[in-house]
Symmetry: C2
Subunit: 363 residues, 2 copies
Amino acid sequence: MNSFIVMDILKSALQYEDTIHFEIGQPDIPPSAKVKEALKTAVEKNLFSYTQSFGIKSLRSLIAKNYKEEYGVDIEASQVLLTPGTSGAFLVAYSIALRHGQKLALSDPSYPCYKNFAHLLDIEPIFFDIGRENNYQLRVQDIKDKQFDALQISSPSNPVGNIYDKNNLKELIRFCDKKDISFISDELYHGLSYDLKANSALEFSENVFVINGFSKYYCMPGLRLGWLIVPKKYLRSAEIVAQNLFISAPTLSQYGAIEAFDKKYLKSTRSEFKKRRDYLYGELSKLFNIEAKPDGAFYLWADISKYSDNSFEFSKRLLRDKHVACAPGIDFGKNKTSKFVRFAYTRDIEHMSEGVERLKSYL
Amino acid sequence: MNSFIVMDILKSALQYEDTIHFEIGQPDIPPSAKVKEALKTAVEKNLFSYTQSFGIKSLRSLIAKNYKEEYGVDIEASQVLLTPGTSGAFLVAYSIALRHGQKLALSDPSYPCYKNFAHLLDIEPIFFDIGRENNYQLRVQDIKDKQFDALQISSPSNPVGNIYDKNNLKELIRFCDKKDISFISDELYHGLSYDLKANSALEFSENVFVINGFSKYYCMPGLRLGWLIVPKKYLRSAEIVAQNLFISAPTLSQYGAIEAFDKKYLKSTRSEFKKRRDYLYGELSKLFNIEAKPDGAFYLWADISKYSDNSFEFSKRLLRDKHVACAPGIDFGKNKTSKFVRFAYTRDIEHMSEGVERLKSYL
């Protein structure tokens, strides 16, 4: 297993009081006031027991309802498994979709923990390059000749920040359905898209594993609450793995999240991140080559090869000399990643503009 | 992987409004008032971000200090890894102590999730029987001729409720040290012992993995917060696994737990559970044969063979006919477990005495 480098960078970044944070993949906005009120009420009501392994029914029903409202898809509350962060959801999905020694297909670059979860569970990750040539998306034509047992994508994607085209997503899912390959869709950044809306994999098949959570759009990362939409045929397997793996997700977080679907609050969060995206994309485009469309999540994938061919050294020196933290591309794979750096626009424009000034003086 | 049957029983038990709960392995006492205050303050202060992977320093220092006060052992705060429940601690410990295909030695009976974590990580669990003949404890003489790579015990134990003798524990650890076998000690029920005190494995070696958490003695199960004391040579490996596996433990729970070492509260909790133990042991001894010493945790391991040789059927019928829930022995292994049932004394005496009456009318 490899280090999750951005967590190491974060640790170093915290040594300086004046660090500019472009490395952090979490919002700086507190959750909805209603969530905070619900958390305090839950404390008052002594809600400190474990819940059922799948989580409390009221929240699972709200999540199911949200799929109907947002995507027009019908899922049952019984398919919603609440997990300790999306990390827990990945462990469950991989455990039930794959056996030891089987192969999980991922894009390169992609979120580094995917492959590390696989290593942990004795599953073999295999990689397909994404880049300008395929619009930073996996396509059936690029993957169809290799053997694997599950395919996982993220859209809006980490680290690239783009969104899968509807038709391409549909074709990938159909291909997997036909070939009996499990399709796992990381939709954690849904809601954080600014010009177009991301499609849920559930729009195209009932037979997909969909992962989402409250850490990004809902601004509750520290509450460690995610969810997995479990295909019906795997419900019992998922329950067995969840019972054993984590008993149940954090209880207070579950009661707090009941208030998370606060539409006014979510609209204002999205609008704030859009402003930040527009600002940082505007500024960084002048300094770096940014090929991937900055559709969503809160990341920009910047080609730094004008300045360096070693993104890790570039990031370390930038942090040491200018106290500006960013995530080196090599955290996310091997495909040209030494030429790329991920910038997160998770802080306000004032903070970022100081970072942009320091960057300019550094380059 | 097998079902964690007690969680299934719990689910069925919740169907009836008048269920008597002898199945639940969690306290019904709310956490210290100071913990509740700290949780609400943390909500007010918007402490919703991820923490460092190892957790917040203030809490880790308090845990280290507690080892000095309770056991006279020196550990550094840097060795304390905060995890999402002890479940997270087991995943980290097994991942760094063992490689795929290696062997983990466990007692039979033991906590069912141990073996299931092992299966998940492609580690092979092997079992040694415990029973009256060895005082319900693993001993060097019983295990020394078999090959394995890690050994795990729990004391006070789940499901048996007894405590390892100091000398026996020391000998087991010395044996493992000499043979380069990782020793993993589940100390989650420390504090909940009523006549004698359990020893920490850290009293006998620096080279052991010690797991504990806030779910039992500190009465905060739903906060999902555990810890692992990591031997110094594994610190970096543990950090890498934790970063990937769960990013960080729930943030509010960490801030709440700062107030958990509230000695007056803990003394009253222990005294309450001692009363319950004395009551239930007194009553059940008249109905069943209870061989294992009821030293601690909050479990009694009752031999039901006077009435049935199928503990699963016995438990299911008892629940269906009398709405009394208990954990069938077969959840915990294969060694005579169809003759045993685990009774938890996690509810007050009034609740339990109703259960005892129903049991009497059932038998």
